[in-house]
């Protein structure tokens, strides 16, 4: 069996001394799409931040292996350069930095000597047009005054350009109307392939109508309480998280 792309082993993490992740184990293989579904406040964003090494979150126990390498103590930028991408739930504005400049700088950082300056323009234009954004998008300042839909498009645009091998997409569907949701989902689907692993973090099932997951995990109170196939998402849609929350409390 080949090495898993991502292997999370009994991960515990806390913020300001409060434990949020209470022992998570999860394995994602290349080519797989996993959906992690949970109610608000269950710690989903903590998991995505911890996977990228956000300094606010302290890992107290467990390990994160990426392509077999222990990256638990790696800095955020090193994880990104190794091929991990995080699509933010709330992308941050960077005033005065144009989208094009930002994406180019990020690509240079991630690709290093392999960055093809000549190819960049063409590829960038194509990626923008596929996501239905106008060319003027390139000269706007990163997330500065962007609508919710524009912010999420920019996240997927970056993912398209950076070509990660693991994409963690945190609530990419939040704040999107149905048309934007379709465009963004199509963008993600285009990137699916045998080399890419995706962890979709979401509250609602609706995103999974567009991006079909291989595995669905139910995430409640800092733990994965159940895993199954895509039918699990539909079951959640029908019954909600309540039965699991009870389990979590009694357990």
């Amino acid at each position: 069996m080949s090495t898993p792309l991502l292997e999370i082993q009994d991960l515990h993490a806390e913020i300001d001394g409060k434990e949020i992740l209470k022992g998570i184990s999860l394995t994602i293989n290349k080519g797989q799409v996993h959906a992690l579904m949970g109610p608000n406040g269950s710690g989903k964003s903590t998991l995505s931040n911890a996977l990228l090494g956000h300094p606010k979150y302290k890992i107290t126990q467990g390990k994160i292996l990426f392509n077999g390498q222990d990256i638990t103590d790696w800095k955020t930028d090193a994880r990104a350069r190794a091929g991990i991408f995080l699509g933010f739930q709330y992308p941050i504005a960077v005033s005065g930095v144009s989208v094009a400049n930002f994406v180019r700088t990020a690509m240079k950082s991630c690709a290093g000597a392999n960055f093809q300056a000549k190819e960049f323009r063409k590829e960038f234009k194509a990626a923008m047009s596929a996501l239905g954004v106008e060319e003027s998008f390139a000269t706007r300042y990163v997330n500065d005054g962007f609508s919710g839909g524009e912010k999420k498009r920019l996240e997927i645009l970056q993912m398209t350009m950076l070509k990660p091998t693991l994409a963690i997409l945190d609530e990419t569907d939040s704040g999107l109307d149905i048309d934007a949701l379709k465009t963004v989902s199509e963008g993600i689907n285009r990137l699916r392939g045998p080399e890419l692993g995706i962890l979709l973090i979401t509250h609602y099932q609706r995103l999974l109508n567009y991006i079909l997951p291989d595995v669905v995990h139910v995430f409640v109170d800092g733990k994965i309480v159940r895993s199954g196939g895509k039918e699990l998402a539909l079951e959640l849609e029908a019954k909600g998280y309540a039965p699991y929350e009870k389990t979590a409390v009694t357990a």
Partner: protein
């Protein structure tokens, strides 16, 4: 601004500017300030009687005036006025020369290190170089001299053009304006005197460079620029000092007179070492249709208090201040601008940008005043501050006193923080922490450049970069 420069300000200060030469002087006043000090200074300069009287009157005012209560007294209150040498005439300061080879070797060497002669050859129309209290070198392009442009050290100006100096000296900034203008008026020495005749356009900048070398030094240069009707001139000043553990004091007075249709641009790149108190009064009078622009870059010093002003005294006069400040550890840049509209149809713009890091503090302090008869005035003020960390600080004190009708005033102020979330976002795209910080800072300036007329942006970039590379002041 390119690459990491904005972040590295002051990092190589020791090597680039913080060195000092042995003190060689023909006269050094006693520590502290007395009537005798003032008389000695005036006597050594062979000044006319009116100037001595002016100085002594200013000394009385200085002694009576209290310290400004609104200032950052935690720093200002530390100045040991009695430990300062108020006048130091270096060897070579007996009569300045227009040949670098005649400047004493130590001093020439210092200016060489600072890149002044090189800058002069490359892109300046004239230079004065002041060392301690005296101008040791001055030059001006021959063709400008032929057109009647005067560019001298202030002391020479007073000797050679006493009437012109007497007519304007102290008229824009009276000794009694504030405590430090009074101090300067009492003990001033050096500085530049410029007169540009009617209709003459000085296309290439003139520059002054101010260097403090001695410990506990007080430098009090005095500059007066008169641009006659329809003329234009661009003046640049730079300054540095050695790093000492004890403090030095720099307190200048700069008066500009822009007669009708004249245009003065005054650029400052202040890069004093972190033991220098920089307490400067700068003010211009802009007559009908005249334009005065202050470009004020504050990188160095311990405490700077400086609010370049334009008094718009003639119809349709225009004033602009562009202020950029960097505050690092132990520094407080208390900078800003004043626009005083005394005539109708006058307009002004104030743009201020500050970056504070490592516990540094930046203050924007500004005044916009419109007098009752000044109708149809336009003014816009914008100040943005960027805080690089939690321990740095930024304050904004914009004062508006509008006593006229039909006035358009705009004011905008922002404070942004380079936060953990912003760095995390950029680093999650593969940027190293330093690269991420640089990107935020560059972005801060990019937005600034977009709001500026192109020539300003280019100018400022060029100067800040040259300053940091040590090629020009």
């Amino acid at each position: 601004m390119s690459d990491d420069k904005a972040l590295n300000i002051g990092q190589n200060y020791e090597q680039q500017y913080g060195f000092h030469d042995p003190e060689k002087f023909v006269f050094k006043s006693q520590k502290g300030l007395t009537r005798k000090t003032v008389e000695e200074i005036s006597g050594m300069k062979n000044e006319p009687e009116w100037m001595l009287k002016y100085r002594l009157r200013a000394l009385e005012i200085y002694e009576k005036k209290p310290m400004p209560v609104w200032a950052d007294m935690s720093l200002l209150g530390q100045i040991k006025f009695d430990d300062i040498y108020y006048y130091l005439k270096p060897t070579g300061g007996e009569g300045n020369t227009n040949k670098w080879e005649d400047v004493p070797a130590d001093i020439k060497n210092t200016f060489d290190k600072l890149g002044i002669p090189e800058a002069e050859r490359k892109f300046l129309a004239g230079v004065t170089a002041q060392y301690e209290s005296e101008v040791v070198y001055h030059s001006i392009h021959a063709d400008l001299e032929k057109q009647g442009v005067i560019f001298l050290g202030m002391d020479d100006g007073l000797k050679k053009y006493p009437e012109l100096v007497k007519k304007y000296f102290g008229t824009i900034i009276p000794a009694a304006d504030n405590k430090f203008s009074a101090l300067n008026s009492a003990v001033w020495s050096g500085g530049s005197f410029i007169y540009v005749p009617k209709g003459v356009k000085v296309a290439i900048p003139l520059q002054a460079y101010f260097r403090i070398n001695a410990k506990n030094m007080g430098q009090f240069e005095r500059t007066l620029i008169i641009a006659d009707e329809g003329s234009s001139v661009h003046y640049i000043e730079g300054c540095t000092a050695p790093t000492y553990s004890s403090d030095s004091l720099h307190s200048a007075v700069v008066e500009l007179v822009a007669l009708p249709h004249a245009h003065i641009r005054y650029t400052t790149i202040q890069n004093w070492s972190k033991n220098v108190y920089n307490l400067v009064t700068k003010r211009a009078a802009a007559h009908e249709n005249a334009i005065v622009e202050w470009l004020d870059g504050n990188l160095g010093s311990k405490l700077t208090m400086k609010y370049p002003a334009v008094y718009l005294v003639g119809r349709k006069a225009r004033g602009e201040v562009v202020s950029v400040a960097f505050s690092g550890a132990g520094q407080h840049q208390d900078a800003g601008a004043k626009m005083v509209h005394l005539a109708p149809e006058t307009s002004s713009t104030i743009l201020s940008k500050s970056i504070s890091k490592d516990g540094g503090r930046s203050t924007y302090r500004g005044l916009v005043k419109v007098y009752p008869d000044a109708e149809n005035v336009k003014c816009s003020v914008r100040c943005d501050a960027l805080l690089m960390d939690e321990i740095s600080r930024s304050d904004t004190y914009p004062t508006m006193e509008i006593d006229a009708k039909k006035v358009q005033i705009g004011h905008e102020a922002t404070v942004s923080k380079v936060g953990e979330e912003q760095l995390f976002y950029l680093m999650s795209r593969g940027l190293k922490e330093q690269e991420a910080t640089t990107m935020v800072v560059n972005g801060f300036f990019e937005a600034f450049a977009k709001e500026l007329p192109l020539e300003y942006a280019v100018e400022l970039n060029r100067l800040v970069q040259l300053e940091m590379e040590g090629s020009v002041g």
